[in-house]
């Protein structure tokens, strides 16, 4: 092979890489925070809501989960201006990612809620608790504990999926790749390094979620 790999050129672009990592982390953190809340709200709607609310929630979940994220992103960033809503790159990215994560989280949390045994609910009812009280004190924590692995996996997947915002030129880690690529012409090396960085972020996140489980759910 007549090609010589030149990783050094890529490593020299430390700043671009660091900036990209920061944006990816920030985007992921905000999306996870908001998406998690939305997911819980939608899950509650799916399980406890009136018929109209359940249908609305179900439509939201099915539409988002059966269409690709990149199309949702393009619809928000390129499509909305056509009906008068013009968003900047970051806002569009955040919106698309959050709406997307909310739907997936909702399904997971819904499964968690339904996994709480009926006998627990009956115990709460028999004490005279209202449905909202039962949800808050009896259902919520066991539900989240049951689906914690699925939830944390989904959040890690989300962090990886943020790479798609590079396609509307948001300045995330993946987009840093195209910047460095245009400076060094080392396409293969650039994306290999960036991929390895994502792998490191994945490992860090998984470790972080493992630690979080022990902090929140394990008894003192």
């Amino acid at each position: 092979m007549s090609y010589r790999f030149q990783f050094r050129d890529v490593f020299a672009q430390k700043e671009a890489i660091a900036d990209g990592v920061l944006v990816t982390l920030q985007l992921s953190a905000v999306t996870i925070g908001l998406g998690f809340l939305i997911g819980i709200l939608v899950a509650v709607s799916l399980v406890y809501g009136e018929r109209w609310l359940r249908s609305l929630a179900r439509v939201y979940v099915e539409v988002i989960r059966n269409t690709p994220l990149i199309v949702q992103l393009f619809l928000i960033f390129f499509g909305l201006p056509g009906i008068g809503i013009r968003l900047d790159v970051m806002t569009a990215s955040l919106l698309a990612l959050t709406i997307n994560l909310g739907a997936y989280t909702a399904e997971i949390v819904r499964a968690g809620i339904e996994s709480v045994p009926k006998s627990q609910i009956e115990a709460g009812v028999s004490l005279g608790m209202t449905q909202p009280q039962i949800f808050r004190h009896v259902v919520l924590i066991p539900a989240l504990k049951n689906v914690y692995p699925a939830l944390s996996s989904q959040f890690v997947l989300l962090m990886l999926a943020t790479s798609v915002v590079s396609q509307i030129s948001a300045a995330d880690l993946f987009h840093a790749g195209s910047i460095i690529q245009s400076r060094t012409f080392r396409d293969f090396e650039v994306y290999t390094v960036i991929s390895v960085l994502y792998l490191c972020l994945t490992l860090l996140m998984r470790g972080g979620f493992g630690l979080l489980y022990h902090l929140v759910f394990r008894r003192k």
Binding site: M1, Y3, E62, V63, R65, N66, T67, P68, L69, I70, V71, Q72, F74, L75, F78, G79, L80, P81, G82, I83, L160, A161, S163, V164, S166, Q167, F174, G177, D187, F188, Y191, T192, I194, S195, V196, Y198, L199, T202, L203
Partner: protein
């Protein structure tokens, strides 16, 4: 030249949809082949084989699909070939799908209780025969629901092949937007087409999941 969004655009989008389906099938074939190995290794008694599967799955799942697509797209051109994006996409998706399918299938294999193995052994079957007549049929029944669920993921994931220039549905959407300047309508149409592919499969996997739960 800007032109109005017309029926002919819908036609071209539908044609591109064929490529979405085609790429999905290629990914299933390639990923399926890889996945069989990953599952077999991952469920093996040999810890080295299990380690290989673990590292493979962990690495593939820890890198965004876009990353894999770009690595193969640029990597293959280094190796000297100037291949169409379809090849890079197929290789990238096969690697990616192989990890996920392998995990699903490994899970199904491992879920078969040890007593089934023992039953096969006690009627005189060897390892391969146990696998063929007792274990794999049951594993297939267990794995079919999550596999169909993953096919839905694959269909959505093929949208990323647009980024390396492969003309499937999403890329066709970008091209149509460029010539009609109607991004809202175009991407709405594109979303609708993906939905019409994915939603029936999602429902089917739910039916299969219910059947699976009844069995076990």
């Amino acid at each position: 030249m800007i032109r109005e969004l017309a029926l002919v655009d819908v036609y071209f989008l539908l044609l591109a949809l064929r490529w979405t389906i085609g790429l999905t099938l290629l990914a299933l074939l390639g990923g399926g082949a890889v996945g069989l190995f990953v599952a077999a290794f991952g469920a093996a008694r040999n810890p080295v084989l299990r380690g290989v599967a673990l590292v493979y799955v962990g690495t593939v799942q820890g890198i965004p699909l876009l990353g894999w697509l770009f690595i193969f797209y640029f990597g293959l051109s280094i190796v000297g070939y100037n291949l169409p994006p379809l090849v890079a996409a197929t290789v990238g998706f096969s690697i990616y799908a192989g990890a996920f399918l392998g995990e699903i299938w490994r899970g199904a294999l491992v879920a078969i209780p040890k007593t089934q193995w023992e039953a096969g052994l006690s009627i005189g079957l060897n390892y391969i025969e146990q696998l063929r007549h007792v274990i794999i049929p049951q594993a297939v029944r267990m794995a079919i629901a999550p596999t169909v669920g993953f096919v839905v993921q694959l269909i959505k994931n093929t949208s990323l092949a647009a980024v390396i220039g492969f003309v499937e549905l999403t890329r066709e959407g970008q091209l149509t937007t460029a010539s009609t300047f109607q991004p809202f309508s175009v991407y709405l149409l594109v979303a609708l087409m993906y939905f019409s592919l994915c939603y029936p499969l999602t429902q089917y996997s739910r039916v299969l999941e219910r059947k699976r739960r009844v069995l076990h």
